[in-house]
Amino acid sequence: MAREFNTPGRNEPNVPSNTITYFLKEALRRTWNSKRTSFVAVAMIAISLFVLGSFLLLSENLQRAVERWQGHSRVTVYLNPEVTPDEQRAVDAFLAAHSDLASRRFVTRQEALQRFKSYFTNLAEVAGNLEENPFPPSYEIEVRPGVAQSAAFESQIEALRKLPSIDQVEFDWEWTRRLRRIIEMLNIIGIAAGGVLAMAAAFTIANVIRLTMMLYHEEIEIMRLVGATERMIRGPFLIEGLLQGTIGGIVAVAVLAGGFFAAQRTLAPSSSLLWGFLFGCFLPWQKIVLLILGGTIAGWFGSWLSVHERREEA
């Protein structure tokens, strides 16, 4: 009669020690043997990660620009052109009393006019012919980084606005706040688009692996009959998907870096005011690793889908 059956898997290794080399050799050989289909899979992964990487790169540079500008945040307080010396002293006293607003500089109407003339030389003559100086006196206040986001600071600005001699208070970080929102949107769009494309790429890899498995159907059957474990049979296919995904990730990063540095060299110097800030720096190494790892995971997931669905076929 049948004796109590030991579980061989507990006593014997499922994957022999020399199997990792076998997995790798087999995966590389199969990838090479089906070059065209493998190329499609790698290209799909590369395209999806390139799209994701482009969004990440754009948001990275915008983010850095925003941080740079926020380091020099400034509030401009425009006074009524008819402001009296007493009213101006009251405003000055208010600013001096609040430490966040204390770093101030008074700009007279005359100085404002001079600045205009120096910035816009073509219009200097027109400005000089005006009967009356149209520029109001103002205070330029340097705000320390991080202060502008605080609720206390906003309430101070509100109180400042209520002073009778104040015409207007301008923040230059309001639009950086809008820019931040745009960056968030870009990140979301990038991740969503990259995610959808990566899924499509994973399914492409799944199909490629499925085709390869069909191609090696007889070999798989022989392997099963001579006692190869499922892990040993599936291992090379999983490694194949993993390799394709990783290669796709590396290609995406390489193309992205190539395009970025070429654009930085050719476009950025001639248009530094318009979009020069977009070519500040390439992705940090963490994000590069993340992109390549994304390819690896997508590849592995694709091949896992294929081998999992064909597991029951023996």
């Binding site: 009669m1 049948a2 004796r3 059956f5 579980t7 061989p8 898997g9 014997e12 290794p13 022999p16 020690s17 020399n18 199997t19 076998y22 007889e218 070999e219 059957e221 022989i222 392997m223 099963r224 009959l225 001579v226 006692g227 190869a228 474990t229 499922e230 040993m232």
Partner: protein, 239 residues
């Protein structure tokens, strides 16, 4: 070693390959399985390798009930069986050496041992000088011998062969039978399916004859009775 208890195998309602088969092959036995085409020989061998499962009855091999064996345990069970397939089942893209080396990889034999073991197995079938050839560069008989070498490479507990001499000339057939006999003397239980009545007649081994899926005859061939033969526990020829 191999026990069949009232085994029936039906492929569909109209096609029954084996009918209520009961027999036993003891450890160390050398048994011939014979019968006309379509008698159920290959089906019986497939049941032993657990390529298929019985519709009714129990198959127990080396103490393992193949009806209840877990899927995860199947590869480890199959590693104890050396099988020579009728269609050889060699991997065409691999050389003769690689076909054998692959089995050793599956069995977790150190790569340093592969060449020595493969050479020894191929020498036994006189193919040690064709190690780097591909199966398609070999004749049918040579492919058959590679398949035998592959089955023997790990000194299996059970050696099963489906028409292993089908592509060989009489001299080579005798050589092959000698190889199986040597494996039997080393301790392997051998079950050999063949049409070749001359081989069976001269062997002096136990013979199970199948006809229409039933055991029609079970006897010892006319030559002297081999020492390794075990007793039939059922003590009868089941029909």
């Amino acid at each position: 070693m191999i026990h069949f208890y009232h085994v029936t195998k039906r492929f569909d309602r109209y096609s029954t390959a084996l009918h209520d088969l009961t027999f036993q092959i003891d450890k160390g036995e050398f048994v011939f399985l014979t019968g006309p085409s379509g008698a159920g020989k290959s089906t019986l061998l497939k049941l032993i390798l657990r390529q298929i499962t019985p519709s009714e009855g129990q198959v127990v091999v080396n103490g393992r009930n193949l009806n209840t064996i877990r899927r995860s345990a199947l590869p480890f069970f199959r590693r104890e069986i050396g099988m020579v397939f009728q269609d050889f089942k060699l991997i065409e893209r691999m050389t003769v050496f690689e076909n054998l080396s692959f089995i050793l990889t599956v069995l977790n034999v150190s790569p340093r041992e592969h060449k020595r073991k493969a050479y020894a197995a191929l020498r036994a079938v006189d193919l040690h000088n064709r190690m780097n050839s591909y199966p398609l560069q070999l004749s049918g008989g040579e492919q058959q011998r590679v398949a035998i070498a592959r089955a023997l490479i790990n000194d299996p507990l059970v050696l099963i062969a489906d028409e292993p001499t089908g592509n060989l000339d009489p001299d080579m057939s005798q050589d092959i039978i000698r190889i199986f006999s040597d494996a039997n003397l080393r301790g392997s239980t051998v079950l050999l399916a063949t049409h070749d009545r001359d081989l069976i007649r001269e062997s002096g081994r136990r013979v199970i004859t199948l006809e229409h899926g039933r055991i029609s005859d079970e006897k010892i061939s006319v030559a002297e009775r081999p020492a390794a033969r075990g007793d039939n526990v059922f003590g009868m020829a089941t029909s």
